[in-house]
Amino acid sequence: MTAPRTLYDKIWDDHVVHQAEDGTCLLYIDRHLVHEVTSPQAFEGLRMTGRTVRAPEKTIAVPDHNVPTTLDRVSGVIANEESRIQVEALDKNAKDFGVNYYPVSDVRQGIVHIVGPEQGWTLPGMTVVCGDSHTATHGAFGALAHGIGTSEVEHVLATQTLIQKKSKNMKVEITGSLRPGVTAKDITLSVIGETGTAGGTGYVIEYCGQAIRELSMEGRMTVCNMAIEGGARAGLIAPDEKTFAYCMGRPHAPKGAAWEAAVAYWKTLFTDEGAHFDKVITIKGEDIAPVVTWGTSPEDVLPITGTVPSPSDFTGGKVEAAQRALDYMGLTPGMKLTDIKIDTVFIGSCTNGRIEDLRAAAAILKGKKIKDGMRAMVVPGSGLVRAQAEEEGLAQIFIDAGFEWRLAGCSMCLAMNPDQLSPGERCAATSNRNFEGRQGRGGRTHLLSPAMAAAAAITGHLTDVREMMAETV
């Protein structure tokens, strides 16, 4: 009998093509997702060396980072010259190399990490890579998924493999159930608050426990999405009936007998009793509150009921970092988080741009108006999410409340397109990074859940969504 293995061990073992004496492995890649910003030089490299894409049928390209999300996009012209060139390059590369492609004009276009699962490209037990750090999202399916650099993009295009050394195993268990008003976003931010942004460095995290099992697939994607913010190479959740139900019938999921065979295999993908974890973290689901970030690192997390910390609350290098963050964010220690005024609300990104996220925000916004002078936008994660939200009447709720209803893309998550904050502008965002300048030079970002973002849009300041839920019930 073989020794008990973790979920990560099992997926790893099933993908080793070759192992060198020093432990370096050649790992087979099942799905390679590609976007316009980190791929042009990789495709160019193939051209220069006369190489081809080894498995175009396993390669999926979609423009997302640079694309405008305003409605005039349908006219087909991207005003920013450099963005336009990058998108056009992807158009051409996808065509020349014959990879699967969802152009801007396709209703299935969206953020690469939302499109992959939606189209059934991402399946349990697979290895998934993309020239993007938030590839960790796909771990929600029990797929080993992580970001890679441009040289590695080229390596995967040419060989369908990646040169890798194995990471260590970490278990993050969320026991019990979440309380009302607490979401997957609050779990993932709370975990980073606990471990710090480097706590996961060198590890692959498996999230488990009752609270994780109780999450929908959308919620699980939110949790895994931010594994990278905790420094981990990847995040994983063992597949279960919910996973199978989500995958079934998706355009690129197996059908018929192949489906049965796949499910039989997927059911073997769990951590064996007694398998070794190098690090274990346990958090009680009941203890997690709706959280927000106050600083410029995703680890700067506090329950919404808290107050802005003082640099003296910290030790070591974090003292200086906290001071710098407070200065950048324009906050005073001791001030209540709920007193922080918000100028802009952004709902979207690969963290929280899925249908369930829009439902959660719309549930808070229904019949209400956003605060006077507030700038608020919803950027659905894909064209299909957008279409579904329109069908469910969510779009109208957002529009009636005063939100802009945008087309799909990364948008203000990284502000590479025209959706940017101006200096000093303060934003409640459902995205994943609050770094200095992330949403525009001088822009101030508070990360939170979609429901919390909706609450802030109504009141004009950071707000405990639970109070609003009490009102609406």
């Binding site: 099933d14 093509v17 070759h18 050649l26 087979y28 099942d30 042009p40 030089q41 160019e44 490299g45 220069m48 060396t49 190489r51 080894r54 450099e82 060139i85 990058q86 390059a89 399946l123 037990g125 697979m126 441009t150 040289s151 080229e154 390596h155 040419a158 060989t159 369908q160 493999t161 040169i163 999921a253 197996p254 192949a258 489906w259 065979a261 796949a262 295999y265």
Partner: protein, 201 residues
């Protein structure tokens, strides 16, 4: 990646120390979608005025050095950011070898990935090579990777060190991709097995 075996070419003298990657390729050229095509902007701010006119004094603008394939440089060449655009720009201009007393670590690694040979030599040898390079286009320097020697235009020869694995890769034009492709049979076998085991993948 092109092989590097033996090169006899014009060497441009750049005695400046701390030539950083910002000098090699300024940041406004990083928005490109290509690795190629950066040669025209190599050393852009040292090479051109603000309105794009060539600065005649700059070494690569001088008739003798417009076709240089080697750079002999001062200490700490390639310091600064990790941008792989720096070796891309050098290569696109036609530079295949840089000789200095020292290199920044990341730049040094990036060179090998792109078929450029960076050579570390003691200061006194760099001084000899610098003088030779200053003689202009008739003074060709020969770099023989197989033999691990640099020979000046007047026949003085100096041995140099290079990591054996990297030497192997350069001599055979192998990058990581090239090396992985040597294992194509293993990849084929994996795919064949996977077709039976996990046909949906």
């Amino acid at each position: 990646m092109d092989k590097f075996t033996k090169l006899t070419g014009i060497a441009a003298p750049m005695p400046l120390v701390n030539i950083d990657t910002d000098m090699i390729i300024p940041k406004q050229f990083l928005k490109t979608i290509q690795r190629s095509g950066l040669g025209k902007n190599l050393f852009d701010e040292m090479r051109y005025t603000q309105d794009g006119a060539e600065i005649p004094d700059f070494v690569l603008n001088q008739p003798a050095y417009r076709k240089a394939e080697i750079i002999v440089a001062g200490d700490n060449f390639g310091c600064g950011s990790s941008r792989e655009h720096a070796p891309w720009a050098l290569l696109d201009f036609g530079i295949r070898c840089v000789i200095s007393t020292s290199f920044a670590d990341i730049f040094f690694n990036n060179c090998f990935k792109n078929g450029i040979l960076p050579i570390v030599m003691p200061a006194e040898v760099v001084a000899v090579l610098m003088d030779d390079a200053k003689k202009g286009e008739n003074a060709r320097i020969t770099v023989d990777l197989e033999a691990q020697t640099i020979t000046t235009s007047d026949g003085q020869s100096f041995p140099f060190e290079v990591d054996s694995h990297r030497k192997h890769c350069l001599l055979n034009g192998l990058d990581d991709i090239g090396l992985t492709l040597e294992k194509a049979a293993a990849i084929d076998a994996f795919e064949a097995k996977n077709k039976t085991l996990h046909p949906w993948a």
